[in-house]
Symmetry: D2
Subunit: 310 residues, 4 copies
């Protein structure tokens, strides 16, 4: 289904080449001031207008947000905040061939099997364009978190096999020139969350963060703390008896321990490559994923804070 | 909160050293035959009685399941299936010191901060003993999946830095002898799930699998398909235009593509090490995690199948 | 919160005098044909353009539905169906006085206390205008039910103390002329639902119907079967041993028994009366409630059918 | 499904003549003192041991609650509170005939159609015995509400057509002697809930109260405030411009206005009558419904308070 979160519940809708995409953010307390410029700047970050390795369509998307409800004079009413972003720069002629064609690494085939029908125009609902709605909702959450002293910051720490950031740009340029794509790893650090936030058993904070990250197009893995690094023994990690534990990634037993929360997400090489198809493609989707990772992390954290304030 | 799943809803309860742990499995259709022996064998697998590197308490746990409701003459009634496992082998004297002590790498500190109170006896609710209830619920799901031709099988593919399984036993024995612990990676393969199962956007199959796995004690990472491996370009993965895509891990756009579903989970070295505390400790929790990984995967899959049958 | 239903999940948004009201209907299966004319005719019924005793604003509302997503060429995609209705005929000058005034029998006071802020323009979110979105969603559900042979029909069976329908019109005209308002009782009959639909215990069909009806503005009571009629003994009702039981209202133990489902809702006299305020008021809200009652009943029934088809 | 409530989530399980009934109450904050004697006294009220017109089985039920988890030394841990009540006084021989027989006015037929199987022993899951679990959970909620100055009190205000309480006892005695049954109306008054509690639109307080009441066995109607009384005009109710409105029943726009909350529930004549069957039957189920009505009302109110404290 298309909603996320138990307290700040976000419902997303819209196809890539339909009339509009948009969302409804419910459960936002009344009386919060919304800074629409901050929302716009997150949308701009996602569009990647300045970045190397971003698809030209993304750069052209105007992405004007129309606010329909829930906010009066810039202040939340406690009622659902609905917004839409009209789909403009639509070029169905670029996608006509997709009508009877499944692209490898895309959801074309699985949507067709599941639904027996699909909006083939540019990937329809499965297009990464849907994430623009998430960025709007997340930006509202993020600015409320910032008022509470919580920062959420994602960065690309690896592109392909390259881990030194000064090498990223040339690698990306070469990849794009070759009409190819490449994977990347995003790290996200959250500071300012006090100890005691999260739920034990099934609703552990890491479970919700992982689910949120793996819901982003192209994300193939999530790890926090020691993650997949198997080079340490228990004696390396716990023998110094530090409370809270530095290797924890900020979460123990599903609950924050007051240290910064730190996790990493793996993004696969973009499925659309110019070697196969004409069109407008990203060389490395990890780049544009940054505001989306931050948006989803913001929604996760604000939901847990809401719950734990009881 | 303590429930899992939207259709087959599992509610777990109980502290490690309270009267009992147990669970309620609701939403199970009427008329299913339950094989209690298969449930027992899964419980036995989790107890690790035969395994190297398992804590002696686990081996002594009788873990007799008492079925309270929902089943009549071995057939489900469509009503909630409730069961309990009494806590026997309880030795509070082993844990008395924990009353005023937080163990590193455990949830003692975070529970205390969150709740202001905790059942300190053996970790209370945060103890891995809670997973015995999950294994019971998962075993019911798993046997129904098997009737539909679906198999779910987990295995340890890495212990520490060692990836050749013939070396695991000696490494584990040495680790246990040293009173130390070590991490491991579990791979789980699910076969027989037809294409078209899953949900797009926020409830992608991989999101639910990741959340389920990261809810298991000690799990620090989840990946599927290409995961964290950054050695490939898009041209390696998609240029052959195979539908469905072999590097997908069986899921595209959140929905199964008919290939086997394959994912991996990282487990950290156990936090309790004999170097620090007396007591009964596992050298490598990845080993005992196998039936738990399978149980949680079974619950995820059966919930999606239920939803998609509409 | 602002969503309704577990399978066909309807999220409603919008203030009476904001930019738009609207909704998102998620969980609708793919491949259904939507008849937009039937949706329009339900909207028209709610506006009460032909009826005696309806507020002039209602008659002027254009209520053009703009469909944003989820439908392509009149066929559902299985993705969220989002729609908006722009608020036109807005006359804030009629409502300026409400800014610092609470109307008796309205939600002005309670919203102010709950949120500390409210959209005072025409009742904002609490306005009955919100129900137009429900009628759109319900009309989609209703037409799918009709394809399955299920009919849902509401009628006014009592106005004030008058139970003979031929007397309603003159009573309503007199009430409106006096600038007064009057209560009414609506009966709804649902035919064609097979036996076995519903859930026992907390999610009984009557529980969901009651919750749905009492969520309609002005509804103060719900009854089914024998309801509040206390004139019968058990020997009157059950001694003939009919299975299913004719006095049941079509539901026994929370589950349909195959007889027509029959329930009644009480609507209070409208709170806005011309004796107190200028403006545009309904004499009897039970009249315009008919398509809303049917819409909500349709959403309840289709949700239970979805669940029970598993 | 078998759970109730979003914050204090209560899961109920058990068949009338199975091993046990019971429940799990999750979401209860840590650190609350539980008075087990108060729970016992509610259980005793429900058993109706002193009352005229109660079935002998009810009087014999020992109903000893065994607490399994979530409470340590009488204080809640913040973890799920699980409890069971063993089914004793079981006489399957009284019910053997039910195996192939549907009783009129009962759920025997509808359960059989829905599930294709049923626990025929004494009504199984559909038996009113299930409500004992609700009374336990509700008693925990009720005592926490009382600490906040909130009282919840139900009383029978009508038996058959009789509204003067001094006449109830003789009417009940005569009904029971005749082997017959009779309906009744229960009124419940809740005091001490501050203004601003509830949710607008679909989760109005009255919607949740109605759903809760109609989930009680034998309840056929719910009304609050003016309810089904159609004798008043708007000019009678609102012309005095009182804020909040006295005819409101304590709720306006789905949200409390600070006046006492007042509602009424209609209970049908018990379906089991001695004229038809041997066995142990209630003459008027409204009597024993009082603690159940209070229990369910307590769960509704505490859930809304939890939500609104955000």
């Amino acid at each position: 289904m298309n909603f996320f979160g138990e307290k700040w519940t976000f419902t997303s809708f819209g196809e890539s080449h339909g009339k509009a995409i948009g969302g409804v953010l419910d459960g936002v307390p009344a009386g919060l001031h919304i800074n629409l410029d901050l929302v716009r700047s997150e949308i701009l970050r996602r569009s990647g207008k300045q970045a190397v390795g971003t698809s030209p369509r993304a750069k052209n998307e105007a992405d004007e947000v129309e606010w329909l409800s829930g906010v009066m004079d810039g202040v939340t009413l406690g009622t659902p905040i609905a917004f839409i972003i009209r789909n403009t720069d639509i070029r169905p002629e670029d996608y006509e061939w997709m009508k009877n064609h499944y692209r490898p690494g895309h959801a074309d085939y699985t949507y067709q099997v599941k639904y027996g029908i699909r909006d083939w125009r540019g990937g329809g609902r499965a297009s990464a364009r849907e994430t623009a709605s998430r960025v709007v909702a997340g930006a509202i959450a993020k600015q409320q978190l910032e008022k509470q002293g919580i920062t959420i910051q994602a960065q690309v720490i690896q592109v392909g096999l390259e881990t030194r950031s000064e090498c990223f740009e040339s690698l990306l340029a070469a990849t794009q020139k070759a009409g190819d794509s490449i994977g990347g790893i995003v790290q996200c650090i959250i500071t300012g969350v006090k100890a005691g936030i999260g739920e034990p058993i099934f609703d552990k904070l890491q479970s919700h963060l992982a689910a949120a990250m793996l819901s982003i197009n192209g994300c193939k893995g999530f790890e926090y703390g020691t993650g997949f690094d198997m080079s340490k023994h228990g004696s390396d990690l716990y023998a110094h008896s530090e409370i809270p534990c530095p290797s924890s990634g900020g979460i123990e037993g599903g609950i924050t321990n007051g240290l910064p929360i730190s996790f990493r997400c793996a993004f696969k090489p973009a499925s659309s490559i110019t070697q196969c198809y004409n069109g407008r493609h990203d060389a490395c989707i990890a780049l544009r994923a940054l505001p989306i990772v931050e948006a989803m992390a913001s929604l996760v954290i604000i939901n847990f804070l809401q719950t734990d304030n009881n």
